[in-house]
């Protein structure tokens, strides 16, 4: 195991002070379920690990009906997957959380870490992209809100500066007549996604799509939105024809890499299949919600 210093600050200001001081030599550690593996494998060797686990409040999920959801950077995937609130209002995110690795990984791994690690096969990012999430990034220089659509730069790279840390993930308030889903396709349950698809949408009284966002993982060098496929849906009913066309469009517009159980051509085909399945499931659930008169 390579050697490093381990700092456990108690506040965000102490944290950002350490990050400003050590710069590129420091890495923020939360659950450590990705970072410690990279260190074990010798792929990264930071001189300093700065833990955010003892910073007060970062392990909280805070919800406000008008402002939406704020998830602290130390919130674990198990917390997300078992939160009644998230299961009710942001189902796609809960489904992504329960598909990350194994129970062991979810007990320590955080949604903030899953985002910052920027793995192109990670489960949380597509769900968060579909929910139009942003991250709150803090440094000595101030605070900025970075929309997740634009956060990822390349495989394992984000736009975060060396002296910045993500303190929260922010998701807009859930609108009525909306729903979300995450479907994962992987060789084994504990693997990263070969392909993962998350869809959020909202419908009107005529069951036409008012707005929709599709997040993909395993379908490019970074998690990404399938914006051309989304455009096919807005203003229309999600008939079988529209759904099939959207799947094909998403497969065309994504940019998968080869490797990790699947060549790019196969991932592309699976994007078409899983976009279609996700949409079929959402239409089925809309019908159920309308039957039950539930205005979620």
């Amino acid at each position: 195991m390579p050697r490093f210093e381990y700092l456990v600050p108690q506040s965000i200001s102490q944290m950002t002070k350490h990050l400003a001081e050590y710069g590129e030599d420091a890495k923020v550690i939360a659950g450590g379920q990705s970072l410690l593996v990279l260190i074990n494998q010798g792929l990264v060797s930071p001189g300093v690990l700065v833990s955010l686990n003892e910073v007060a409040g970062l392990d909280q999920i805070v919800h406000d009906d008008s402002k939406g959801l704020e998830i602290g950077a130390a919130v674990t995937q198990t917390q997300i997957a078992t939160s009644a609130l998230i299961r009710e209002k942001y189902m796609g995110l809960a489904q992504a959380a329960e598909k990350v690795g194994s129970v062991h990984v979810r007990n320590l791994g955080t949604v903030g870490g899953n985002v910052c690690h920027a793995d192109p096969g990670a489960d949380s990012p597509p769900a968060l992209l579909a929910l139009q999430a942003s991250v709150k990034a803090v440094s000595r220089r101030g605070e900025r809100i970075i929309p997740l659509d634009g956060f990822f730069r390349d495989s394992l790279e984000s736009v975060l500066e060396a002296d910045e840390m993500v303190t929260h993930i922010v998701i807009p308030a859930a609108s009525p007549f909306s729903n979300s889903v995450y479907l994962k396709y992987a060789a084994r349950a504990v693997d990263r996604a070969t392909v993962g698809v998350s869809v959020w949408w909202t419908w009107d009284a005529e069951e036409k799509c008012r707005d929709i966002r599709i997040g993909l993982t395993g379908a490019g060098p970074t998690p990404l939105r399938a914006k051309q496929a989304e455009a096919l849906a807005r203003g229309y009913r999600l008939t079988n024809e529209v759904i099939v066309e959207m799947g094909q469009m998403a497969a065309r517009e994504c940019d998968p890499l080869s490797g990790g159980h699947a060549p790019a051509s196969y991932r592309r085909k699976m994007v078409a299949v899983f976009v279609r399945r996700a949409l079929e499931q959402l239409v089925k659930e809309m019908n159920r919600i309308r039957r039950e008169g539930n205005t979620r």
């Binding site: 490093f4 450590g32 494998q41 690795g101 194994s102 990984v105 007990n107």
Partner: protein, 159 residues
């Protein structure tokens, strides 16, 4: 460089001096002599290193020892009470759910964490709880059976 680490392991308080880069797995094995948790992949896949951290299953190869400060660790050595095996251990023996034994401590601890939280799991819930533990001998069927059997005999005892 060493820091003082206080933690409770199998009900006993320990203070160990550790360097910050030491992994929980290595401190348990090399400093405390608890050899039940095994080193396998070192990447959080195989689950041979499973221990309970505040009653939750974790991969001890992917946890810094200092993260355990002030917390409670349970290893396989801590399950038996006064040489009386835990019912899960008994059913693993009775059902022939072990072969080489390398994965067994991890399997039993993952199952223990499940049963503490959910005493009457379905077969699917057992499989999900064990998805972070690989076994290269048994084919898993008897392991899942043993966990379900331990859960149902616990239910009978409580009737």
């Amino acid at each position: 460089m060493k820091q003082s680490l206080q933690m409770t392991v199998n009900g006993q308080r320990h203070t160990v001096e550790v360097e910050p880069w030491r992994l929980l797995l290595d401190v348990l094995r090399d400093d405390l002599g608890l050899m039940g948790a095994k080193r396998g992949c070192g990447e959080g896949y195989c689950g041979c290193c499973t221990v309970l951290l505040d009653r939750k299953a974790v991969h001890a190869c992917c946890v810094l020892a200092l993260r355990a400060a002030g917390r409670e660790i349970t290893t396989i050595e801590g399950l038996a009470v006064e040489k009386k095996l835990d019912p899960l251990q008994e059913t693993f023996v009775a059902r022939g759910a072990t072969q080489c034994g390398y994965c067994t401590p991890g399997m039993i601890l993952s199952a223990k964490a499940l049963l503490v939280k959910n005493p009457h799991p379905t077969e699917d819930e057992v499989k999900i709880a064990l998805s972070g533990n690989l076994c290269r001998c048994t084919g898993y069927a008897k392991i899942v059976e043993a966990v379900l059997c331990a859960a149902s005999s616990a239910q009978e005892r409580n009737l």
